[in-house]
Amino acid sequence: MRWSKLLRLVAPAFGRRGRPAAIWLLTFTTAILLASALLLYSTPEEKRISIYSNAANFSLPVLDRNGDEYIGLLELFEPLGAVSAKTNGNRWKFRYYDVESEFTAGQTRARIRSVDFNLPANFLLENGRGLVPLSSLATLMPRILGGPVTFNQNSRRLFVGNVAVHFTAQVNKTIPPKLVMNFTAPVNPMIATEPGQLRMAFNHEAVVAPGSQALTFDSKVIPSASFQENNGSAALIVAATVPLMASFTNNGRTITIEPVPQVAAQVQSPPSVPRPPNSFALPLVAGSPAARRYFAVVDPSHGGEERGASLSGQLAEKDVTLAFGRRLRQELETRGLATLLLRDNDSTLSLDQRASLTNSAHAAIYICLHAASQGDGVRVYTALVPAETESRGPFLSWDAAQAAFQLLSQSAGTGLVSELQGKQIKARSLITPLRPLNNITTAALAVEVSPPSDDMSGLNSPAYQQFIAGAIAGGLANSRDKLEARQ
């Protein structure tokens, strides 16, 4: 519709002053819509600077003033030591320990340690808060601190003293290949996966690039990695052709990236490599979307410092569940069902981590393993989804994510119980308030195994474990078509 037609339509509604009022209304409405669209689509990412020092690693917002980037001087030095500031008219006195500086609002000239200093842009005073140009930090900070400062203005990362964390990266020619990265200090990056890559974001660590920002490796599985710095953060992106997992050892100084075990089996036939105790492995799925999908995720509950139930003086639930988990994986894989074992060592995984890893694996079923000293036989549980956990639109409530899969879970549980009973194993199907069952977005079961008799050591018997694991795997294999159809 043309503008003049629109005016003719709207104008009669305003009586005698029809046309001018209609023009005003339409202009006003258009302006509001444009402003809203601009606000929605052009919200810029907040500019930040990261400061790394022996005293603290921290991040501060960067302000845009008169076309230059500025930062509050008091906020910058506060985490580094004792500071104070005093405003006297348009003069601003700043003290860091016994070093005194004086700045004047609207001027570039300042005095630090009684020596003149020129700022690249005017000093600003806003409500008693002294702002200096970001570009002055490389020269201003050494004058106040009395020590070296390295400032990468493009990435807005500032290093006070010799705090940089360096690393080496090398792909070992093992089968499967492993990318081993050794850092000069412990690191704890945020790890995320995208198709074809695994990304490690170093938001609080002073990690710096090795000689080159781009690293290439003589490996078809892990061909390259690149180091990127931007807006006060650094990231290392590892390119991969298969799903990868990252494990931390040496107190966080070494990160090993390797194909997840099942994928490794496809790449080459690997020897069984024992994992170091207490290493934390996140089987994060990277690689192409067409990467292998798992039928089952097996979760040996507890682990690490969380021992679970004390089944006897020496026997902890976490050890029994791990042994059961390994046997169940073996039994499922011999039936051609790809299985991801969430914990293959004595590591600690939170309930949320277990749920997140399971949901990102998009498996057909999740089986959480528990062991108990009470009762006999096997108990198969589905989730008792908690109250007041309403999903909104496309967003599932975390606490009731299982709600949409309850029927499928109950069907799988009933099938599993029938299979167990068919093998003369006492089995019950129950509902239980057990996390993370309610956080799982696929069929989810918990299996609690009790000792075969009053003898608790029976729980640890390989023959008993193999028998139960075989029966469970058989039950799950029977439900395969139904589970995969829903998947």
């Binding site: 908690p386 606490d399 239980t432 057990l434």
Partner: protein, 199 residues
């Protein structure tokens, strides 16, 4: 001159008095060494006043893994919240008995029950209750559902129940049963029914 027999009598009496003093002293020391009974962990609460009423409590049975209703007579106060506390305490007292079908550690206690409208009850357990609870999926579930079901069956309008331990939120009861979320009383009723059906 003191007669001889009088002298001997006085000496004998002195010896007897001395001997008795020694005996008394020793008996007193022995009494001091007898251990005093441990402090009673049960709360010292004023006696409940009110009518003696019949209520249904839902008792867990570990041997068969079910929760069954049981009629008991207890003295109940008039206030709704006070009634909730007394009913749950009667259930916990039953569990603390040596021959209970679902034993809880001595000193386990319901600190308080808060009825928050509409339909929300908050059960505050003491630390002993949670810290000493046996660990296991079924055994923890039995405790939780018997408490929720007992409360919902006796206090009208309860639709959701939340657990606290010493006034604070806690992730699990003893490593398994979830305490971080609210319990829907109707979902718990279904869980209780399933326990009955599959025993």
């Amino acid at each position: 001159m003191i007669p001889r027999h009088l002298f001997i009598g006085v000496v004998v009496l002195l010896i007897v008095a001395l001997g008795m003093s020694v005996y008394v002293w020793r008996v007193r020391g022995r009494v001091d060494r007898v251990p005093t009974p441990g402090a009673n962990a049960q709360p010292v609460a004023p006696p409940v006043s009110g009518a003696n009423e019949q209520v249904t409590i839902y008792v867990a049975y570990d041997d068969v893994g079910v929760v069954r209703p049981k009629l008991v007579r207890i003295t109940l106060p008039v206030g709704r919240q006070e009634r909730a506390v007394e009913i749950l305490r009667s259930l916990v007292n039953l569990y603390e008995d040596r021959f209970s079908p679902h034993s809880l550690a001595a000193g386990s206690e319901i600190r308080d029950v808060y009825l928050v409208e509409p339909g929300l009850a908050i059960i505050d357990l003491n630390a002993v209750f949670a810290d000493s609870h046996r660990s296991g999926v079924l055994v923890e579930e039995l405790t939780i559902v018997s408490l929720v079901q007992t409360l919902a069956a006796n206090i009208s309008g309860i639709t959701r129940v939340k657990f606290l331990v010493e006034g604070r939120e806690r992730d699990t009861l003893a490593g398994h049963a979830d305490l971080s979320n609210f319990y829907d009383s109707s979902a718990v009723t279904r869980a209780v029914a399933q326990l009955q059906n599959t025993q």
